[in-house]
Symmetry: C2
Subunit: 401 residues, 2 copies
């Protein structure tokens, strides 16, 4: 038996002895939710280029687009907002679990996984598998993500959770539950742009996890719990903090050494490359050119820092980015390592006022929209996802052991 | 763009426009843990044919085989037993969550998912990613599955949980925590045979889920939580009860009608087929011939019912099975629908004294061994699993919307 890795983006399988390692380039399903074109650096969400929809749409309207395959009419938009707002409260046992987690300083994504796993406690008709019931479950889950994240963020800092305000939309209410104050409109717009940008992204590992789980005809709570587990991994969504930490580290080192920011960035990146370390915030398995989400979030950050934010920090980040991309290109000319979504996620969410331990949970708040839409799509497809593996172990016998 | 489903077991992919629907026949990785030969009806676990190892090995020794790729020496066997026994106690918050779930009559598998999701509360060094730390986490998780399942089973019936007994092995202690009494040796042997039989089974949907999650460099608690979510689906492990329910229904109908069991079975199956319903307990996506696990569990059931069990029931089950297989063959001569693992799982676990709502959680107790071994294998492989999807949605523009 021979074993051959497929390193081309699309690999051919012939007679069962080749391994599609990592499933790279293997198309597992059709979807109408998003199109990722890694070669051209394009992302389409529900039919719209991400550059067009993310900065303009309300998050609830993007949810409607994904769930119903069209933007809502004005009264449908209001109706969906109210419906989501009415589902935000957590079961008492979920909140008790978050308190116990906070006492042990459990990481935020572990707390989110535990809390979402417990949300079948909030379901009234678990046996109803009608389309309407599944859609209602999907909506209720998406509605509760910000409540969990905000409650846990406050508990970790020693504050009591703030109850949701049903008069506020999804994004505004999340910021309100974090701070207890009604947020500035520019911050809400920046957050909605972020949530819209990351709401869906093809067959990424967390979305795929959710689809594999629901493909056994399991339930949506199980599917989203699994997806959170995949998202928390550093190779997926679990490491957006370090990109900004790098900028801060370089800025501080330049201030101490008296070197220019450009020189300090250059020597910092070269040190990391010599040590064989990865530069966080650059490069993406799918995008071979610039990640279109980085463009959208960069523009949103420019607007935000123009208004309420720290303009100097914005300038520093842009200059660091340029130097890193140049040095990476000199280091590996044959491979384009462009700024990825993590880099501008960190800048934008920092500008909104979020601590870095909230970056991945906030990613999950956005992506929950895509996860639920994919789960509903997979329920319609109704085909078990079950690949094969090649056995490479020994042959043994019990009596000879 | 054309879209073609691959219906052959191994499908060819050429230029990115074909969909490997369900990933059937796509080999995603190499594994030394188990070999499933669906054409020949053979299953190898850690190198051993399932018929040889399952009825003879201790469950802890099978765990050692999967985790370390060899059977343990006697002192290693004892050491692993003691080590697992020392990890059984649940965090207080996990038990509190189970109490809240029991108050709402949450299904057993949802309760297991919630409880396992919370087990990072029991971790002392979450940041340690060394091989030893990962192995210890795997062992601690496997050790706690029976404690969760037994505690919840008792809470659902209105009883207090029974604390684990560290002097008892894994399987015996599970039965002890369910009943509060030290179990009969024949029951323990039957249960160990079952756990060994289902401990691993190639790249099934739950195992695959665990590998996808850990492939993002996430954590083992997340991977096993996701796997439970996949296992609970009726297309995977979530429906072993109905096979035995069918036997009881046929037996009762025969008693009422005065017809022979054979005649009653025959008419019952034909009614179901005319109504387009699936006969639970027969047929498997992978096995085209008799499922080797059904043989092992059938033989274990024969031994068990010979000793402590209900011999009449065993005879009824065997006769019903023969008639169902014959009628199914007459109905679809081109397709062999043989008895699958669910059918004899139901009989054996019923004989051990488990209620049908414990069948799938007990499956999870066994499969946790395979899940953890696959997770450790995937950690070594360290390759992100991320397939593609084909976009089939519309092209839209924001201003034209």
């Amino acid at each position: 038996m021979t074993h051959t890795d497929l390193s081309s983006p699309i690999g051919g399988l012939s007679n069962g002895v080749m391994v599609a390692s990592g499933l790279e380039g293997i198309c597992v399903t059709r979807t109408r939710l998003s199109r990722v074109d890694g070669q051209k650096g394009r992302l389409v969400i529900g039919g719209f280029p991400v550059e067009e929809i993310a900065p303009q749409a309300r998050f609830e309207d993007v949810l409607h687009l994904l769930w119903f395959d069209r933007l809502p009419l004005p009264d449908e938009s209001e109706s969906l907002r109210r419906s989501l707002a009415s589902e935000r409260v957590l079961p008492a046992a979920t909140l008790a679990l978050l308190r116990a987690a906070a006492e042990r300083a459990t990481p935020h994504m572990d707390a989110l996984r535990m809390a979402v796993a417990s949300l079948s406690l909030a379901e009234d008709h678990p046996g109803d598998s009608s389309r309407a019931a599944q859609l209602h479950r999907a909506q209720a889950l998406v509605a509760r993500f910000p409540t969990i994240v905000a409650a846990y963020a406050r508990l970790r800092r020693g504050f009591e959770p703030v109850a949701p305000d049903a008069t506020l939309p999804h994004a505004a209410n999340y910021l309100y539950m974090l701070t207890g104050e009604r947020p500035d409109v520019d911050l809400v717009r920046a957050l909605e742009t972020y949530l819209n940008t990351v709401v869906d992204h093809g067959m990424n590992a967390s979305t795929f996890t959710a689809r594999v789980i629901i493909s056994t005809r399991s339930d949506i709570v199980s599917a989203l719990t699994g997806a959170i587990g995949a998202l928390k991994g550093p190779l997926h969504g679990g490491a957006p903090g370090p990109a900004l930490d790098m900028v801060f580290a370089i800025r501080d080192r330049a201030a101490r050494s008296g070197h220019s920011l450009v020189d300090e960035t250059e020597s910092w990146v070269r040190e990391k490359l010599v040590a064989g370390e990865r530069i966080m915030g650059f490069g993406h398995r799918v995008y071979k050119v610039r990640d279109p989400r980085a463009e959208v979030l960069g523009a949103a950050a420019a607007r935000l820092f123009e208004g309420v934010g720290d303009r100097e920090l914005y300038g520093i980040v842009r200059r660091v980015e340029q130097v890193v991309v140049r040095v990476l290109h000199e280091h590996k000319p044959q491979r384009r390592l462009e700024t990825n979504v993590e880099f501008y996620t960190a800048l934008l969410l920092h500008g909104i006022g979020l601590d870095s331990d909230l970056f991945t949970p906030t990613f999950a708040i956005g992506r929950a929209g895509g996860w639920t839409a994919h789960v509903l799509e997979q329920i319609d497809e109704d085909r078990l996802i079950r690949p094969d593996a090649i056995y490479v172990g020994e042959d043994r016998h019990w009596n000879a052991a």
